[in-house]
């Protein structure tokens, strides 16, 4: 009897080990691109060879990073300005819109909300030509301002949705007691709702920041070279044939760094934003 239990335990133990072994192998597979980017970016240009692409650098050389920084500096700071300003503006737009659609519903507000949401599901090619023409005619084509404008406008649906879902979780009884204390429409918003909104702002802020930071299509079609965001800079750097591969790899890590930091430290909020559009809670 005891032997049987022992045997079963051993069996379970082996299965457990196999199971963890599988998970570890899978984790390695998912991390391969990061490994590759790091080792290649640290190699000396002379050492970069396809046949030894998997091996560790013999001498660690940071020249890839300094070169990539020199080439992508402007793009990097363009993206910083772009992502911060567009994120901040669209977060406030989303907050006040969400307040209306969650706490001040009126006849027809649901249908307006649905019509607004449609804007986040379109392939952006369908609006690209008129957008390009419009920015040209008002003199914003090529500049960072045009790009900020585009991100704020086409961000309206998702930020409104996230804030609406967030405010739906705040109970209406809080609103009622606020009203009994004599707070009006905007009083309720500024004194009651806004102070409770910090987690909502974190989710929206993270979501918009990563989306805007990673965006490419508008960057390449609506900006001139001096205003190119980091994604465009990186694509051009990697697309050129002459560069040795330590530079694009270092550039890729540089372009990934801000979003990776956000993901690692604030991943919980990132996932919340990610699931908003798909799982209705």
């Amino acid at each position: 009897m005891r032997e049987n239990i022992l045997r079963i335990n051993v069996k379970i133990g082996i299965r457990r080990k196999l199971f963890y072994g599988l998970l570890v192998v899978l984790a390695f597979v998912y991390l391969v691109p990061v490994y590759m980017a790091i080792i290649t970016s640290l190699k000396d240009p002379a050492e970069i060879n396809l046949l030894t692409s998997w091996s560790f650098p013999k001498h660690i050389n940071f020249k890839g990073f300094s070169d990539a920084y020199a080439l992508l500096k402007t793009n990097f700071f363009n993206s910083v300005i772009l992502a911060f300003s567009a994120t901040i503006i669209s977060a406030f737009v989303g907050s006040i819109n969400g307040y209306v659609f969650s706490k001040n519903k009126f006849k027809g507000s649901e249908i307006i909300f649905t019509l607004l949401l449609f804007g986040m599901f379109i392939p952006y090619q369908i609006i690209l030509i008129p957008l390009f023409q419009l920015l040209k005619s008002i003199g914003l084509y090529g500049s960072l301002f045009g790009l900020i404008l585009a991100h704020v406008i086409y961000g309206i649906p998702i930020v409104t949705l996230i804030f609406r879902n967030f405010y739906d979780q705040i109970s209406d009884s809080i609103m009622e007691s606020g009203r009994l204390d004599g707070a009006g429409y905007f009083g309720l918003y500024f004194r009651l709702i806004l102070p409770l909104s910090i987690p909502g702002f974190v989710v929206v802020g993270i979501w918009q920041f990563t989306q805007i930071w990673n965006e490419f299509l508008w960057g390449i079609t609506l900006t001139r070279k001096s205003a190119n965001p980091i994604t465009v800079g990186l694509a051009q750097l990697a697309g050129g044939q002459a560069v040795s591969w330590n530079i694009p790899m270092a550039g890729a890590l540089m372009a990934a760094l801000p979003v990776l930091i956000i993901y690692i430290f604030l991943g919980k909020y990132f996932i919340k934003g990610l699931l908003t559009g798909s799982v209705k809670e």
Binding site: L50, S53, W54, E110, F118, P130, I153, T210, F216, Y263
Partner: protein
């Protein structure tokens, strides 16, 4: 008293309207207005002359651009792009849903260091396609990276041209596309047709029967009478050069489906699992018979979101294979080249409209569905 409340209420409604007016106008112009504008542009000849002028001269020419795209001599590449798009979307859907579900099942038990594994499987999702595309391009270089992996197992190294292979499999003739589509829709119709007869739903019986009849008469009669859409044979198929891009895309998005399914599996009541265990079901049977049917709404959301993402593969293809690679093309890339490099605005607009219609086929039913659900709550 009641009067005051309704007056306050009315005043609040006016304030609400004032707040959302700017957003409504902006979305009205920049989404709906611009879509209408692009549709109009696609029906003109804009691009032939003075394409970059601020007020270009355009003439209305009807559906000529569309006709050229589907059946014109020079747009062979666009037709292959459309075929690529179908394969990209299907493979991405099947790949990410399968891999994501399996990852979710693996993590759906008390796993030690679960948050570590979850973080590792999901991090690619946070990155830009341009970043991951740049790295994958190096990994899939012909004489290095992934092609060296067989050497680890003592095998000769692979020589597959991941991004530049010209091989095409599953080839078919473009002239047969209407027939293929008709047969495909007929197969999809079999189940609802049979069901409508079983449930005796008169209206549906009529609709499905008429549609099937039209399709059948096309396949057996009209196909042979009508002229073919192209005057010559034109071969299209699945380009093997897209496999590399698909691997990168599945790697990047399987974590997303994993997160969706994990949330779904965790949401199932523990009692369900225990009941299954008592009834003698194995783990495998539990997932197959109980978990999968119960996370169906999540699968639906995943299908919608992923088919939307697959229409946006622009960035990944651009970074991995470049915009000019014919073998890995996608309508969105072609639209970019046609519009912004060749200045053929009207043709580019027609391509954008085709992409939009494909997206709308998925999105509009989904939005109607979720609108109704919101109203019920």
């Amino acid at each position: 008293m009641a009067g005051t409340i309704s007056r306050i209420h009315r005043r609040d409604t006016i304030k609400s309207l004032l707040i959302i007016t700017p957003s409504v106008i902006l979305i009205g112009v920049f989404v709906y207005g611009f879509i209408a504008n692009t549709i109009y542009t696609s029906l003109t000849d804009w691009g032939a002359r003075a394409s970059l002028a601020l007020h270009p001269v355009k003439h209305f020419i009807g559906f000529v651009n569309y006709k050229n795209l589907f059946a014109g001599f020079i747009h062979n590449r666009f037709r292959q792009d459309l075929v690529n798009m179908v394969f990209y979307s299907l493979c991405l859907l099947v790949g990410t849903i399968t891999v994501g579900f399996l990852l979710a099942v693996l993590l759906d038990r008390s796993v030690r260091y679960e948050s570590f594994f979850r973080t590792v499987f999901l991090y690619p999702m946070a990155l830009s396609f341009i970043v991951t595309g740049t790295i994958w391009r190096w990994l899939l270089a012909p004489s290095g990276g992934v092609n060296l992996i067989p050497k680890l197992f003592g095998l000769p190294k692979s020589n597959f041209l991941w991004l530049s292979s010209r091989k095409t499999v599953l080839t078919f003739n473009w002239q047969d596309v209407p027939t293929i589509l008709a047969v495909f829709i007929l197969i999809l119709l079999i189940y609802p047709l049979v069901k409508s007869f079983i449930t005796q739903n008169k209206k549906r019986m009529v609709i499905y029967s008429v549609v099937s009849f039209i399709l059948l008469s096309y396949i057996f009669i009209f196909k042979n009478i009508l002229p073919p859409i192209l005057p010559y044979r034109e071969t299209h198929g699945f380009k093997l050069a897209t496999v590399g891009i698909l691997i990168a895309a599945v790697w990047q998005y399987s974590g997303y489906t994993m997160a969706l399914y994990l949330a779904g599996l965790r949401g199932l009541p523990v009692s369900m699992r225990e009941a299954a265990k008592i009834d003698g079901a194995t783990e495998f049977q539990y997932y197959l018979r109980i978990a999968i049917p119960n996370v169906k709404p999540i699968t639906l959301s995943a299908v919608i979101i992923l088919s939307h993402i697959s229409l946006k593969l622009f960035d990944l293809i651009y970074a991995m294979a470049g915009a000019d690679n014919i073998n890995t093309g996608h309508p969105s890339i072609n639209m970019y080249l046609t519009t912004f490099r060749a200045n053929q605005f009207a043709t580019g607009a027609a391509m954008a409209v085709i992409l939009f219609i494909v997206a709308a086929l998925f999105i509009i039913p989904y939005m109607v569905h979720s609108h109704r659900e919101r109203k019920i709550r």
